[in-house]
Amino acid sequence: MLTTQQIAQLLPGQDNVFSWVLQIVFLGIFVVFMFYGQRIQMYIMIREVEGSLFKLKMLRDEGRKMAVSAINEIGKPQFDPTALVDRFLEYFAITPVDLDPSGIIWRLEHLLDVRDIRFKDDVKLMAPQADETQINNLENTLEAALALNIIYKIIRHFYLLGKKTLSLYIIMQVQMVLPLIMKEAEAFSSALKAFQLGQPIGDGAGALVAAKLMRDYEKTKVEKDVVVAKVPIEGRTAYVLKAEGPGGNVGKPGEAIKQILEQNEGKISLAIVIDAAGKLEGEKTGEVAEGIGVAIGGPEVDKYKVEETALKYKVPINAIVIKEDVGDAVSPMRKEIFDAVDGVIDRIKRLIKERTKEGDSIIIAGIGNTIGIGQ
């Protein structure tokens, strides 16, 4: 057992009472940090989440204001559309039951169709003077504002839950994904302005390729909001299709491809699908890559239809993608992406010459949001 004198000898400045007190207090602080360090760390993380939440709220509010001003400017309603916009921002869609996945694709498609019709009708109500292109653009604007609202509410939910329960693990998980979420939220807020003005976005890269190919040829409208042109390329007949622009539209390219395959009784030698794809960190924006498969994003209903019909007629499907960041996909189109289009067209011609013979029919589908891109 140590005596007081022996303990005193361990501490420097042993003849100074103030030094003794200081030493003991420092030891006390050390003990406090040992037991409460985790809580202090949690408070620091809560402060960080709170800061990002504040920014998300500002983005959400700014997005809502932009949507309302766009509707007033373009649609010229006779009443204040703010209440309708607020109602729109709270919309939700319930996914179909997946316990029994049989037929889920068709149930999902029906729900998506109902959602699309409902959204368009609401926008027409808010903006009675808007034409079809403007209605599509306003719908995209409102959907971007809706996305921002949802992101803000989810982060706020976990922030308040973590603060209420003082659970380090809830707060830590939110804090860890926060940089990616903030990046996505900033991308959506950049997209809002693009949609409002009808500017082409990065996601429209595939549609731009198709638009360039079908530019001087006669177009016919096929399945919902999709246009097709018969274009002679390298001695082959190419059915080039894209969503109908220049309004914000993705159409149903899967249904259109299915129709063309059925109409031609499967006598299609090759199908090429062009779309934007997410790039890895370190890759350059606008890089082009080739592969196999149906490069169609979204809820996979269209992808399923193309795969089923291609399997039925044994049609090979090739994909060409233009690499871009998730932020670039919803922001106004970058020069690098625009310049990549000519490179994609060269690759298409090369693919056609390598994998088909003269006189064959092929399908070239440009996938993406066609806002700001005509045909």
């Binding site: 400045g13 003005l197 924006t285 625009f338 005509g374």
Partner: protein, 134 residues
């Protein structure tokens, strides 16, 4: 959203700050009395505690937020379908790629101008940040 700092947190910051200053004072005092062992120990403890209290205080401050909703300038390129003359201007509402306009070509005086491209240019610094390891 109100900005409220926990009183417990504030108390910890104040206590560590006071103790760090006191410790630094003790260290200087010990050095002046030629007691370098005690002096160096007190100074080390004081500086470490000062850093900790400064860090905790910085965490309580809300940094100026950059909203990140600045509009990026977009260029619209008009091309004459007849002579190939190109003209670049700022994007206007209603512009879309391949839109035929009523503008007259300043070179051949024909009304054959169409929008060839619409894009934004990213600065060199941002482009270099993308491919940091290439």
């Amino acid at each position: 959203m109100a900005r409220r700092i926990s009183p417990f947190f504030l108390a910890i910051i104040m206590i560590t700050l006071v103790l760090s200053l006191a410790s630094i004072y003790e260290g200087i005092d010990a050095y002046s009395k030629n007691d370098s062992t005690s002096g160096s120990l007190f100074l080390t403890m004081g500086v470490t505690t000062l850093i900790i209290s400064a860090y905790l205080w910085l965490q309580t401050r809300r940094r100026m937020l950059k909203l990140g909703m600045e509009m990026q300038p977009l260029n619209t390129t008009l091309e004459c379908q007849k002579c190939g003359f190109k003209n670049v201007r700022d994007f206007q509402r209603g512009d879309y790629v391949f839109k035929r306009t009523e503008d007259q070509c300043p070179k051949c005086n024909e009304k054959t101008m169409a929008i060839g491209s619409i894009f934004r240019e990213v600065k060199e610094k941002e482009r270099a940040k993308e491919t940091g390891y290439s």
